[in-house]
């Protein structure tokens, strides 16, 4: 189907189903039950799942296929956000031109940075991209926000003000980002018994874009171009000796993944018309690296899983506090309860980053393939156990 083989088709269908039915999957607990805090089905968080999924899928095209570890991808995200907000300010709140411009701007930006950075490989490449990203961050934060030429509005962040021109804006259109009049914020709440599910326009726009970009990434992985990128990763020298110039391929991959990042940035701005310099800081680049590795670099679905995983736990873990823990462990004797809560305390709430760091280290050390590899190992283990059970029931160890 659509030029995909059977396995990829089923993966693609899984992603479509997950993306479209996410409001159901992410709200498995009734609203007034004590587990409701684990519900992630509210629009804001679902949008972020999908947007960072797109970001990570794009990053994976570069890192997963060519092995070039960029530590500056957040710069493209930031550029995309700024471009989108500028469209909102100058033209219209319609998200379509905003997203298009953010992709184009990020692409141009990636072309420039990639052209220079890809002259080096390995650690030098990482440092070059890091340097470029930090430079963009510093510029966006301070220089480009001087009164004469205010491109980024510095610390406050770029946002839309009432006196902005918005030449194409009509009064009949909503005064918020919209798609031909359909506001991104409009949400339809559906209540079934104790459950409530929210269907948000903005989320569905992001989900459709995620599905499209995911399809593009599958096709890219399976294309001859994707094979070339893999060749760059496995042995660039041999590729050069066979007379192929790897530079155009890596540059193309870099620009494509930069455009994905720009798209994600544009969508972030489309959901909330605001762009700040902190989106470009290198810790933000580090985050997308974490997502990709945690999910499984070089796999198709891994980055989406990683992004969802990190964003979910970032939001849910950081909400758990001591009182909730005390409720959970209330069945234990008081002393033990307090002890357990004290042990868990550093890892929850504000300490969520500690958990993330530890988890990330564990993954890098024991599971270089990320969650996807973990899942595969688990599946293999279960299958072996199942196949072991039937014939080995009557065999006894030889003594």
């Amino acid at each position: 189907m659509m030029g995909l083989n059977k396995k990829d088709t089923s993966l693609f269908v899984v992603v479509i189903v997950l993306a479209l039915l996410a409001p159901f999957f992410l709200n498995p607990f009734p609203t007034d039950s004590s587990m409701a805090q684990f519900n992630a089905g509210y629009p804001d968080l679902m949008q972020r799942f999908v947007i960072f999924g797109i970001f990570a899928v794009g990053f994976n095209i570069l890192f997963g296929l060519t092995g070039y570890l960029s530590f500056g991808h957040a710069a493209f995200l930031g550029v995309g956000s700024y471009a989108a907000v500028w469209i909102f300010k100058l033209l219209t709140y319609n998200v379509l031109p905003a997203i298009m411009l953010s992709v184009i701007m990020a692409g141009i930006f990636a072309l420039l940075i990639g052209y220079v950075s890809l002259r080096r490989s390995g650690i030098y490449f990482s440092i070059l991209t890091l340097a470029f990203a930090q430079m963009s961050f510093a510029l966006a934060y301070s220089v480009l926000s001087n009164p004469k030429f205010n491109l980024t509005n510095g610390e406050t962040g770029l946002q839309v003000y009432a006196n902005d021109p918005q030449w194409l804006h009509r009064d009949s259109l909503p005064d918020l980002p919209h798609l031909f009049g359909l506001s991104m914020r409009s949400t339809y709440e559906m209540t079934v018994g104790g459950w409530s599910f929210s269907f948000n326009t903005g989320y569905y726009l992001c989900a459709v874009i995620l599905i499209l970009t995911f399809y593009l990434s599958i096709r890219l992985f399976r294309s001859p171009f994707g094979m070339m990128l893999r060749a760059v990763k496995s042995n660039q020298q041999r590729m050069n000796y066979t007379g192929l110039n790897s530079r155009p391929y890596t540059l193309a991959a870099f620009v494509i993944s930069g455009m994905y990042a720009g798209l994600a940035g544009g969508l972030l701005a489309a959901m909330d018309p605001l762009a700040g310099a902190e989106r470009m800081q290198w810790t933000a680049s580090g985050e997308v690296v974490l997502m990709t590795i945690l999910g499984g670099a070089g796999t198709l679905i891994g980055p989406i899983l990683g992004a969802g995983f990190i964003k979910y736990f970032e939001n849910i873990f950081s909400k758990i506090n001591d009182n909730i823990l005390h409720q959970w462990f209330a069945f234990m004797p008081d002393g033990i309860e307090d002890f357990i809560v004290a042990v868990i305390h550093p890892f929850i709430g504000k300490g969520w980053h500690l958990t993330l760091g530890l988890m990330f280290m564990m993954v890098v050390i024991f599971l270089p393939g990320g969650l996807v590899e973990g899942g595969q190992r688990l599946a293999r283990l279960l299958r072996r156990k199942k196949s072991d059970e039937s014939p080995s029931a009557d065999t006894k160890p030889a003594e």
């Binding site: 510093a138 220089v143 690296v289 980053h353 500690l354 993330l356 760091g357 990330f360 280290m361 890098v364």
Partner: protein, 343 residues
């Protein structure tokens, strides 16, 4: 001319910090071939050694002084640090006042221990893995260390003053017979620069003039051959990792009076130190030191009003610009050796 000298001096203290961190990074890279993204965290831990020591020294007990009243009219509670009650107010006060320099003694064993544990516990398993994996695992470790510190010390910067003796500034003008009050420079920053020079020359002397250093240098040149000669090079490299951690830690200890430490100071310095290492040349110790001072001074020149009015924001990006130019024109860096990290 005065402004020139002043900027030169201003660059020295930041340059010293860059040089010390970059020196440690290069030591680790040159010996073990590991790219250590947790090195900034080591710098930060060093700084927090100083904070811890000053906190420990000022642990106090309360006594109620009936002769004095506080502003509410209650008897005044006087906090006396235990140190002062043990050694008398004179000596005890001096010890508390000198807590930052004293922290050097405390930080060296702590940092060496941290370094050795890190190397034996984690990094040892990553020699054979690709550089990307090393970057990732040390990056994760940096996050963890940072969060642990944040958990215990909070997110706010903790001011840790230098000894009272070093308060104030030295007036170069008055000392050298030029106009006074033009070139003034805080004593502690001079101290920092001097300290950096001592540590750097100590490391070089250690590598150059001791048998241990000689073996380490041989190992840096050809690890396998040294191993075949029956020398336990792994053990020595582990010790070098500890020393590198100690250098970063000392840089952090002495930096606390200049900039109150907070949990993410390491990350801020790390990015720049990597740039310094790359500019100096991966694996070259003199290169790291040279590039550290050069970039520090360059940064301070770029922050002059003349430079920032000519090219706005140049002070923020100068280091990255230099790094980009150097990497593209001299990929090995200023003093880089041939054959290090060229694939």
């Amino acid at each position: 001319m005065d402004a020139f000298i002043l900027q030169m001096l201003n660059g020295l203290d930041k340059g010293s910090a860059y040089a010390l961190i970059a020196l440690g990074l290069t030591l680790i890279f040159g010996t073990l071939g590991v790219v250590n993204f947790a090195h900034g965290a080591l710098f930060m831990i060093g700084a927090f050694c100083a904070v811890t020591l000053s906190k420990v020294l000022t642990i106090s007990y309360e006594t109620i002084d009936e002769t004095q009243k506080d502003f509410l009219g209650n008897p005044l509670k006087v906090e006396t640090p235990y140190i002062e009650s043990w050694f008398g107010p004179e000596v005890g006060g001096a010890i508390i006042d000198w807590s930052v320099p004293l922290a050097i003694l405390f930080a060296i064993p702590v940092m060496i221990a941290v370094g050795v544990i890190m190397e034996r516990g984690l990094i040892k398993h990553f020699y054979k893995r690709p550089h990307a994996d090393q970057i990732l695992v040390t990056f994760g470790l940096a996050i963890v260390l940072q969060e642990v510190i944040k958990y215990y010390f909070g997110a706010n910067p903790i001011p840790t003053p230098a000894p009272a003796m070093f308060k104030g500034s030295f007036d170069f003008g008055a000392a050298f017979g030029i106009d006074p009050n033009v070139i003034i420079y805080p004593y502690w920053r001079m101290m920092y620069f001097g300290f950096a020079l001592v540590v750097i020359s100590g490391i070089f002397a250690f590598l150059q003039f001791t048998t241990f250093g000689m073996v380490v240098r041989a190992g840096m040149a050809d690890r396998e051959t040294v191993g075949m000669l029956g020398i336990n090079i792994d053990k020595r490299f582990t010790i070098m990792f500890g020393i590198a951690a100690a250098v970063a830690g000392l840089a952090g200890v002495m930096y606390t009076p200049i900039n109150p430490p907070n949990y993410h100071m390491g990350m801020d310095f790390l990015v720049l130190s990597f740039v310094v290492v790359v500019v100096g040349g991966m694996g070259s110790l003199p290169g790291a030191v040279l590039a550290g001072f050069l970039l520090g001074i360059l940064e301070s020149f770029a922050s002059t009003t003349w430079a920032t009015t000519t090219i706005p924001g140049i002070n923020q990006i100068i280091i990255y610009l230099v790094a980009i130019v150097v990497l593209l024109t001299r990929p090995r860096g200023l003093l880089g050796r041939k054959g290090v990290m060229e694939d």
